[in-house]
Amino acid sequence: MAYVIEMLDITKTFPGIKANDKVTLQVEQGSIHALLGENGAGKSTLMSILFGLYSPDSGSIKVRGKDVRITNPNIANALGIGMVHQHFKLVHNFTVTENIILGLEPKSGLVIDRKKAAARVREISELYGLKVDPEAKIEDISVGMQQRVEILKMLYRDAEILIFDEPTAVLTPQEIHELMGIMRRLVKEGKTILLITHKLKEIKEAADYCTVLRRGRLIGTVPVAETTEQQMAEMMVGREVSFHVEKAPANPGPTLLTIEHINVRNAKGLLGVKDLSLEVRAGEILGICGIDGNGQTELIRAITGLATVESGKILNKGKDITSLPIKERTGLGLGHIPEDRHKHGLILDFRLDENFVVHSFDHAPFSHAGILDFKAIRSNADRLIAEFDVRCGQGGATPVRSMSGGNQQKAIVAREIDQSPDVLIVAQPTRGLDVGAIEYIHRRLVAERDKGKGILLISLELDEILDVSDRIAVIYGGEIVGMVNAAETNENELGLMMAGSVRKVS
């Protein structure tokens, strides 16, 4: 079969880093081709070169057998290459159709011919089974739908080769499943798909071929049907990986965090958490699973002090912290790895060493009488970077914004664990991370448990909850509807409770 895209011996160097080192990628017409690699392996750079965002230092690109020079995205578009970005580029108060036609509005005279556009959008949507309402406003539709709008945008522009950049990072399990179906449909209709991801499960489910990159180098291209997930993971990481979290049975001690009948209002002023009670004991990981939007956010905000509690009590080691300011809760040994690491976890424009001390900059050893002690701050950073294996170009002076997601998350984990809190509130700790980083963070959480800390893990990933937790609480509609031992349950049972159809509180 003919290659629709050939990228031959591509090399691209950034100051201090060889992002792509003689990488070759050959994609067959009508296939789903996965590009696998850890964060920083050079996947995005390679795709950016194909899309005309960067120009390579050396190497050549052929599209449908012809040598091409793609110096800007317009050329890529003209060649039928379209990209669905990880972060959608949509205008929120425009309709689906308006977003799709933005930039190439069909006109009758001076007026935009919306009807014609909408009809075309509907037609494409039906052809590929996208089920998008052309008249809906972006702000009113789900994230999964928004992604389909991005796909439609490419199709509307007659793209033949679609690049998906980490498309599942923002989707729910159900939406992921649907996306896979859409991809297969696209391929059936003659499109070619390049799928950038680090999720092996998805590759196994959808892709025909998989090209693996590691630290800018090509490791190999394999047919997915003949390769196990384990093999691909090893190619990616360069060593053996275990998917299963190794851990000894929990040895729970006294109760550390007690939540008694709390009610918390959400952003809309409604009760997001209703009469919820929980206990987290020393030396255990209590997992909270549930479908997104069932009160997890409100619960976290209430415990950490970002939201006020309507009624009820929160106790840390018997001390009432219900209405204490954030700072004092931190002081009492409550750590928090937040769900949104960019918004809450980090000051992206700060350096790494500064981010390590955002809680503790105002007391010794990091400051004396209000004057910062940069020596202490730097050596603290050096220590944490070494201990938690945070990869960063310039050590403590690295701007956090320039670090990969996995290393940003490691930095947060390092900071929160290092403060040795007794209770750690961990929300979505591995969202968007690669296998290596996930493995690391899971092991670290278990290690902290074994040191006698109490950990409350809130995650939307069922696998994660099942693997890491000792006990599992299921949250539905702001209430705890199930409380089970991790060893005694399964995906099925949890799924039913998450949907609200079964209650099981022991």
Partner: protein
């Protein structure tokens, strides 16, 4: 942003600003060379054409630079906390009123009197800055709206105070402030051939030092910067976001208030009724922007804009309209705002050495 582009963008913007100014002069059949001679003379005192040297120009150059450095610090400080202080003008006027009051009503020995005057001005400016800070923190009223309004309140308060409180005879200026309360210096005036150069440069330089120290070295500056970069992140980290907003505005106001004193007891020696705002606050926005809200940057951009002001008489004397200086100032600000465009341009110009800091997979 790395250090190189931090410096590069303003320098390119400044260059483009002058190129644009020169182009307009050429297009209107005037000589840009005259402009550059005038600018050179205004900072060095040296007239290259007549080969004369008059240090008065250097003195006036410093006098013009001092207040806008302070308003630049004011705007920059608030900016560091993510606040846009349009109110430096009003804070400056309040500082001026307080300086007049402390000058006329307090009796103290020479140096102490001046220090009291400066402190009073900083206090008044600080209070005037606290008002929008409080409204922002407590009721989430946007500081831009409040500070603009307070500029007018300060203007009319000033004009009312000149007549009603300080009993101006001619309704435009207060009785003279006693010499003990003035920054004026015969020595400095003599050194600069009778310019209005005064001791004001000492509090100005100290302010720049204090600004740098607070922002870069203290825990307070650390939390201000954190709030400025990411309010949510700072709150999550347990910082008192609202208190930081108010403190930041108080300090910003104090810098501007000091500028008011430097003008009133340095450049002048009496309080003045103003027909309209004099634009020091807006100059401060430009100074802060070009200076990248950093202490040293504000110092140099203060000198740049001070030069544009100080070169006015000489430029006009060469037949170059004063609007050219405004055009240059405005276009520099515009080009700074087009930072991304300049970075793009510089990438385009040097495709081999593309500068990219973000490397993701």
């Amino acid at each position: 942003m790395n250090t190189r582009s931090k410096l590069f963008v303003p320098l390119v913007a400044i260059l483009l600003g002058f190129v644009l100014g020169a182009a307009i002069l050429i297009a209107t059949h005037r000589s840009p060379i005259d402009m550059f001679y005038a600018m050179l003379q205004s900072v060095s005192g040296k007239n290259l054409r007549a080969d004369t040297f008059n240090p008065r120009y250097i003195g006036e150059f410093v006098v013009q630079s001092m207040p806008i450095m302070l308003t630049g610090l004011s705007v920059g400080f608030a900016f560091r906390t993510g606040l846009f202080n349009i109110g430096a003008e009003g804070q400056l006027m309040m500082g001026s009123i307080a300086a007049v009051g402390a000058g006329l009503w307090i009796q103290a020995p020479p140096v102490i009197h001046v220090i009291l005057v400066l402190l009073a001005a900083m206090l008044a400016g600080g209070i005037w800055g606290a008002i929008p800070g409080y409204f922002k923190a407590r009721f989430n009223v946007h500081e831009v709206v409040v500070t603009i309004m307070l500029n007018y309140v300060a203007l009319f308060l000033n004009n009312w105070a000149i007549v009603e409180v300080f009993k101006s005879v001619d309704r435009i200026k207060t009785p003279p402030i006693p010499p003990t309360a003035l920054l004026k210096s015969d020595l400095l005036a003599q050194l600069t051939n009778g310019s209005r150069l005064n001791w004001g440069f000492i509090p100005v330089l100290l302010s720049i030092l204090v600004y740098w120290f607070i922002i870069e070295k203290t825990t307070f500056g650390f939390s201000l910067r954190a709030v400025g970069f990411n309010k949510d992140g700072a709150q999550y980290a347990g910082m008192k976001v609202n208190r930081n907003i108010v403190s930041s505005m108080v300090i910003a106001g104090a810098f501007a208030g000091l500028a008011g004193a430097v003008i009133t007891v340095g450049t002048f020696s009496f309080g003045r009724a103003l027909p309209a705002a004099e634009g020091y606050g807006f100059d401060g926005i430009a100074v802060a922007l070009v200076g990248g809200n950093a202490a040293i940057g504000v110092f140099f951009s203060g000198l740049l804009f001070g030069m544009l002001k100080a070169a006015q008489p000489l430029m006009q004397s060469q037949g170059i309209p004063k609007e050219i200086a405004s055009i240059i100032q405005a276009s520099i600000v515009l080009f700074i705002a087009m930072k991304l465009g300049i970075e793009y341009l510089m990438k385009k110009l040097k495709p081999r050495k593309a500068v990219t800091e973000e490397v993701e997979s």
